[in-house]
Every structure is written in C-alpha cells, then in structure tokens.
C-alpha cells in the first residue's frame, strides 16, 4: 500500500513532530554548548569572553561532582531495583482472586497522581519530621530516638520518596503483563510437579521480561532528571550529601549565578544521559523487538 505518493504524504505527516522536536532539542542544546565555553557570571557582568574548558574542568576537579554523579546513578538504580522488585511481588499478590480488586487497584494507583512537590512535602513534614512526623511518634512509642531521616540518611530518604511515587507505575504495568499469562500453562507445570519458585522463575518471569523492560526504560527517562523532590526536602544537603547532577547544576545557576558553569554541567548531564541510554538500549533493546 506504500506507493510513491503515500510515502510522500507520510513524510509530510511525520515532519511537524520531527521538526518541532529538533528545534526543542537543538536550540537549547546549542545555546548551552555555547555558554559552557564562556565566562558568564551574573555577579560580574562586565567580565565576558571565551574560557575554553575551564567550566568543565571546574566540575571534574570538584569532589562534589563525583559525589553528585554517584548520587544520580544511585537514585536511578535504587529506585529501579526497589520499584521493580516490589512491583513484581505486589503484582503477584493482587493478581490472586482477592475480594474488592477494583478498589484495591484504586488505592495502589493513588501515588501516581500526587505531584512531586506534594509527595515530597507529605513525606518530609507528616512522616519524616523529627518532632512532628509520624515516624518520630512511632519511634517514641517504642522508646527509641526518632531517626533524623533527611539529616542522616538524605539520599536513602529521597530514594524512598521517589520509589513510593513510581511504585504504582511499575506495579500496574507488571500486573497487566501478568494477567495476560494463560493459567493452563501454569496448571500444567504444577501438575508436572514444578515448585512455586520454578514456576515463577521459568514461566512467569520470562513472560514479564518485556514489561520489566518498559518499566526500566520509561522510569530511567524520568529518574535521570529528578529535581523537585530534592528541592523540596533536602535542598541537596546536608552539605552536598544528597546533591545529584541536576541539583548541582541548579545550584551553580541559581545560587552561584554562574551560567557558564551551569551550562558545562548541563552538557555533562546530557552526555551522561546518552551513555545511560546507550547501555540501556544495548542491554534491553532486543526485549522490545517483535
């Protein structure tokens, strides 16, 4: 059905999306690249000029940068591990014939509708607050000292909050995949004497590969840029303990008002995202075929 004219028509129909996304991507990227080689501080407006790789070198020589890089990867990796593991367990659980499944699903999906600043502020104030938080109340109830979540374990706390936000997404996708698995296959395996674990390992898990791939792919895209949750709760602190790469860039731009450095950080972040994307596609790409 693809004649010459329909091909041309198809190209014209795809063109607006491609052109818009190209502009949306290339124009800011080109500007960021330009600024990254410039001396550009809002606090010293009369000094301008090219500075070569100075802005980049500042990042590579800063111990905070390596910490931020580690934090960024720890956040992405930690949330992925937690949401995929718990997501599989919860999906297996609510796939069973339980009473009130509809309402159950409504409860599980709820965190997905909570916007990041609200999610972060609920957790920060109502739960993790060392005086008034619910966790502190529970700790005191057991006669223990309240844990200073955001002061002592800032990165783990942020990973916890973000995992709560993304758990519904992972659970629902994995549940959908699970529901399309035929029960005959499982029953046959059961009759042949396969244990619950080997049924999971050899039938259920392979069936969910594609769904797990989608979860990892989509979540990574969103997790690499996580910003609001850190901004609301720890502000990257204490010190730089919970500063991720996006947050470090933000600090350079807003607190230090150093546009050149922030731009260099932006380019580094884009390169990091590309490296992550490359390994993701190499490792998982074939799961998406067919």
């Amino acid at each position: 059905m693809s004649t010459q004219s329909s091909r041309l028509a198809a190209r014209m129909m795809v063109a607006p999306s491609v052109v818009l996304l190209l502009i949306w991507m290339i124009v800011p990227l080109a500007m960021t690249l330009y600024y990254s080689f410039r001396f550009y501080r809002l606090l010293s407006p009369d000094r301008t000029g090219w500075t070569g790789f100075t802005n980049y070198l500042w990042f590579f020589n800063s111990p905070d940068f390596w910490l931020a890089l580690w934090n960024t990867l720890a956040l992405v990796g930690g949330v992925l591990v937690i949401t995929v593991t718990l997501g599989i367990l919860i999906a297996l659980l609510i796939d069973q014939p339980v009473k009130g499944q509809g309402l159950l699903r409504i409860l599980v999906i709820a965190p997905f509708f909570v916007m990041p600043p609200v999610a972060a502020s609920i957790w920060e104030n109502l739960f993790m607050h060392p005086q008034n938080g619910l966790f502190a109340a529970v700790a005191r109830g057991f006669g223990a000292q309240p844990i200073l979540f955001l002061e002592q374990y800032p990165m783990l706390s942020v990973i916890g909050i973000v995992s709560w936000e993304w758990l519904p997404f992972a659970t629902l996708i994995l549940l959908t995949a699970l529901q399309s698995l035929s029960s005959e296959q499982l029953e046959a395996a059961e009759m042949d004497g396969a244990s619950a674990f080997s049924r999971f390992r050899y039938i259920i898990l392979p069936h969910m590969t594609r769904a797990i791939t989608v979860v990892i792919l989509i979540q990574t895209i969103f997790l690499l840029g996580i910003f609001g949750e850190i901004f609301t709760t720890t502000q990257g602190g204490p010190g730089s303990a919970s500063t991720t790469l996006p947050y470090m860039i933000f600090k350079q731009a807003i607190a230090a008002k150093d546009i050149g450095r922030a731009a260099a950080g932006g380019i580094i972040a884009v390169i990091l995202a590309n490296i992550v994307a490359y390994f993701l596609m190499r490792g998982l790409g074939r799961n998406l075929e067919n």
Binding site: R7, A9, A10, S17, M31, Y35, N125, G225, P246
Partner: protein, 276 residues
C-alpha cells in the same frame, strides 16, 4: 492468570493484598485526614487518627488566602491545552509511522524518546532566556507549548503502538469500497483508535498536571498552575500542618478523582501500549 484458591488461602491473600494496598495509600490518606484536623490536633503526640473536632477551617483559610480558582484554571488550561495540541501534531505522525513505515521508523521513534532524556535543569537557562526573548514567560500559551513539546515523544510513541494494532487490511478494504482518505480517517480509523487516543490523552493530562519544573521556572503569577501554588506553601513551621495538608489536597484531588474514574483507560495508557 487468576486461578481458584482454597478458602483459607483466599482469606490470607485477601488480607495480605489489602494490607499492602492500604500501606501504599496511607500517606495520601494521612494527608487528607490531617487536612480536616485543627492545627494542634494535627501535630498532637501521640498522633490522633480520628480527630475529635473535625473542621473545614483549613480549606476555608487556604481558599481565602490564595487565589485557588486561578491556579486551578491555569492547571486545567495548561494540561488540557498542551495535550490537545500534542495530539494534533502527533496523530498524523503516528498514523504515518504505523501504516506507511519506512526503514528508519523504529530509529526515529527511539530518537524522539531520547530527547526526553535531556535533563530539564541542563537547558533551563537557555530556555528561560529564549522564552523571555519571545515574551512567553508567565503566559499560559508559553507553558502549553513547553509541556506539549516535553510530552510529544510520549504521545507519538503511545499512539503509534495503538495504531499498529489496527489491521491494515480493514483500511485497504475501505479504500477498495471507494472511501476517500478523509472518510477512511473519520469513519474507519478514528472509531477503532478512539480508546487508544483516550488513554493517551488521559495519561498526558496527568503528566502535564503534575509537571513541577517548567511550570515553576517559567511562571511567576499570572499563568502559575497548582504545582506553583503548592510550592508557595513552603516549609511549614510546626503549626501549619493542617493548612499545608488542605492545600496539598486541593492541588491533587482534581486529578486524583479524574484518574480514579478513568482507571481502566489509564492503566491501558500507563503501559504505553507496549504490554498486553
């Protein structure tokens, strides 16, 4: 793959499943409960699960102190507007990719998705300057454009996976019967694609409603949506928990309710059409 269980096992799984679901939902529930408490009872130790004196005062005060209807309206215009505009751009693209695929179609889709990997903070300053130059700062139109472009890759990808499920033979049959391209799209394609388009629309309205970076960076007052409204209720000093909770509830309840009512379509949308 639901299978029959013995009554005892069914009881245990039911209890376990409900416990897990309530645990996940609990933070939202606790926030809603707190929003109806008085300030002293909100921070009472030990915590009061069901307050003795329920009050609507927090809602009244948040309503009186801020221009909630304006924030709400901005959120509606921005999320619905960016989604509809996104559909207008994406439907033809997804249609063409699904029914007249070229050798590069898969690569093109992956490239589109990869544009979303660029961290927003990385390009914050250039985009801010660009928007300033174009006079789009603090305008609803500017945010509609920004969020439309931000979500366009996802819209295209979702629509593509839905359209691909429509068998091409049906379109060919319609064409044999003499249907024009317009008739083909309106009478054959659209009805079949409607559920997919609805799912795409819903998911993107939610993503746009909850977007809390560009909506805060690119607005000041006039066009600020609910994400900016909640950001302005910053760090409460102990005694404002109930009001913070009321404001939070006001920010998320509209989308929570919409999401709950359209759960079926949404779950379909959530899987990005990639999981059956």
């Amino acid at each position: 793959m639901a299978r029959a269980l013995s009554p005892r096992r069914q009881l245990i799984t039911t209890i376990a499943a409900w416990s897990v679901a309530l645990l996940i939902f609990f933070p939202v529930l606790w926030m809603i409960l707190t929003s109806f408490k008085t300030e002293p009872s909100a921070v009472a130790m030990p915590p009061e699960f069901l307050s003795a004196d329920w009050t609507l005062e927090n809602y009244a005060e948040v309503w009186a102190r801020s221009d909630y209807p304006r924030f709400f309206w901005n959120s509606v215009v921005i999320s619905v507007g960016s989604t509809l505009l996104g559909l207008v751009v994406a439907v033809p693209a997804a249609w063409a990719m699904a029914f007249v695929p070229g050798r590069r179609t898969k690569d093109l889709l992956m490239w589109m998705l990869s544009t979303k990997m660029m961290p927003a903070v990385a390009v914050m300053i250039p985009l801010y300057l660009l928007f300033q130059r174009l006079g789009l700062i603090d305008t609803k139109f500017g945010l509609v454009i920004a969020l439309m472009l931000m979500n366009l890759p996802i819209i295209v990808w979702m629509l593509y996976t839905y359209f691909k499920e429509i068998p091409g033979e049906i379109l060919e049959a319609a064409r044999m019967d003499g249907a024009s391209l317009w008739n083909e799209i309106v009478h054959v394609l659209t009805p079949m694609a409607l559920p997919g388009i609805a799912s795409t629309m819903l998911l993107n309205i939610i993503l746009a409603w909850n977007e809390a970076f560009w909506t805060i960076v690119l607005t000041t007052t006039k066009a600020a949506p609910l994400s900016a409204f909640i950001a302005s209720f910053s760090a409460p000093q102990g005694l404002f928990y109930a009001k913070l909770s009321a404001a939070s509830a006001m920010a998320i309840l509209p989308i929570l309710i919409l999401g709950w009512f359209s759960q079926k379509q949404l779950v379909r949308g959530l899987t990005f059409g990639a999981v059956k």
